[in-house]
């Protein structure tokens, strides 16, 4: 814990595009306030780089309040850095000490090609959702929400699964770059609700097929994904997806 401003050394992955080989580059981050977020620290460094005519570091960000899932940074060997249950924008510089060297890498997965530096292309997740992460509804007026009664426990479990923001930290944390936690959260949130039951067989089959086609790895049940998930998505979802998949194949 530091209180005064800090001077840090950053080792950041620089990569021009998907096809070029990347390398680490070292930057000095001077006068960093402990109250800054990790992304604000990058803003300061980039301002300095721009004003001295150098190329800034490319990184993804959007909401900066932990709900968009864009700030994919692998910091000192962990997705989103040393704190649990937070995204990079929610990580504050007080988690580091003056004089620290911080290593920042992009998510590393064949299914998440690097666009530039720390920004990766996570559209493989979108294609998995497009393969089955939806409920087909005919057009017409919205029905009253209470027409279909839902068990409170199921509603809560579905809601917890739906908290997934698709940030890809599970893939980044997994030693096999597996997307099982993400896919299982999306399968679960719909399979648990009556509206999602009707298409549940096709959904799990198509989403798992798309997941495999995108080149994600396999699940070894290490639990790293759950431990690193900023939304604490449970491993129970993976078991539920395995169950759904087994059921869809057997019955």
């Amino acid at each position: 814990m530091s209180h005064g401003n800090m001077n840090l050394t950053l080792k950041v992955w620089k990569q021009k595009n998907k096809n070029e080989k990347g390398r680490f580059e070292t930057y000095d981050a001077k006068g960093i306030s402990p109250d800054m977020s990790f992304l604000e620290m990058f803003d300061v460094v980039n301002e300095q780089l721009i004003s001295s005519g150098k190329e800034p570091i490319a990184f993804d960000h959007d909401c900066r309040e932990g709900i968009c899932g864009m700030c994919s940074m692998y910091i000192n060997g962990r997705p989103h850095g040393p704190k649990q249950g937070v995204t990079t924008c929610q990580l504050h510089m007080r988690s580091f000490k003056d004089g620290d060297t911080i290593v920042v890498e992009p998510w590393r997965s064949a299914a998440f090609p690097v666009i530039k530096d720390l920004a990766v292309d996570r559209s493989s997740f979108d294609r998995i959702i497009a393969a089955g992460g939806f409920v087909s509804v005919n057009t017409g007026n919205a029905k009253d929400a209470n027409n279909i009664l839902i068990n409170k426990d199921d509603a809560d479990t579905a809601f917890n699964a739906a908290a997934c923001i698709g940030c890809g930290a599970c893939v980044a944390a997994c030693k096999n770059a597996s997307a099982m936690l993400f896919v299982s959260a999306k399968v679960s949130q719909l399979a648990l609700l009556p509206q999602g039951q009707i298409e549940k067989k096709a959904r799990v089959m198509n989403m798992v097929k798309q997941m495999d086609e995108e080149g994600f790895g396999n699940c070894t049940n290490t639990g790293a994904c759950e431990a690193e998930c900023p939304k604490s998505i449970s491993l129970e979802n993976i078991a539920r997806m395995n169950r759904e998949y087994l059921g869809a194949n057997m019955l």
Binding site: Y74, G77, V103, A110, G223, A224, E228, N242
Partner: protein
């Protein structure tokens, strides 16, 4: 394409096969450790040899032996396929990985532990399974207990067996509960129980196995 082929080609399907074969191999361990514990009767191997003789000649056990090898081979082939896919899934690795922050080392080392077990298994089958098979084929009497004493009289075999059992311990510590998860058996009430049983099962089975070469080498089993 039939759904069955699709199932075995999918990541989830392969993991389910890993889980089923893993649990099957665990069931074999129970029989194996149970029977071998007969040496602790310390009756000159009479009880143990009776058990070994039954296992060597009972037709049901003969069939199960083939199923067992089938299960073992399926477990190995699936693990190799999964590992190759996993390698491809991350072509550029991280410069810095803090795995200890989010998972147990042995859960991340199942492939290495499994390879260690396979090497151990080759030595182990050479020590006991091959001589027993030879004796059965040649219609000779075979004293497995004396064979055990001969092997474990050598310190380096004791060491090899202890390393093998150590590998088994950590493979089981992760594998037992992981198999249930792969099969989709995760429940708020029962999963903590499965995990606890898995830990105790691994420790007890491996302690019994480890005690065999040690006690025999020290001459405690006569």
């Amino acid at each position: 394409m039939s759904t069955k082929t699709g199932f075995l080609h999918s990541s989830v399907g392969k993991k389910i096969v890993m889980g089923i074969t893993g649990l099957f191999l665990i069931s074999f361990l129970i029989v194996h450790v149970g029977l071998n514990s007969a040496i602790f009767c310390n009756d000159g191997g009479v009880t143990f040899n009776a058990g070994a003789d039954f296992m060597a000649h009972n037709p049901v056990i003969r069939v199960m032996e083939i199923v067992l090898f089938g299960g073992l081979i399926a477990h190995i082939i699936m693990s190799l396929m999964l590992t190759m896919e996993n390698r491809k899934a991350r072509p550029v690795g991280y410069a810095m990985v803090n795995g200890a922050a989010n998972s147990k080392w042995y859960s991340r080392s199942m492939g290495i532990l499994g390879s260690l077990l396979l090497i151990f298994l080759v030595v182990h089958l050479g020590n006991f399974w091959v001589p027993t098979k030879m004796a059965v084929m040649n219609h000779e009497e075979h004293n497995t207990f004396e064979g055990m004493k001969a092997v474990f009289s050598q310190w380096y075999f004791v060491l090899v067996y202890l390393v093998g059992v150590g590998g088994l311990l950590f493979h089981l510590l992760h594998g037992f509960q992981s198999a249930f998860q792969s099969l989709g058996l995760n429940h708020k009430k029962y999963t903590p129980l499965i995990k606890k049983i898995g830990i105790w099962f691994s420790i007890i089975v491996c302690a019994l196995f480890a005690a065999m070469p040690i006690t025999m080498h020290l001459g405690l089993i006569k």
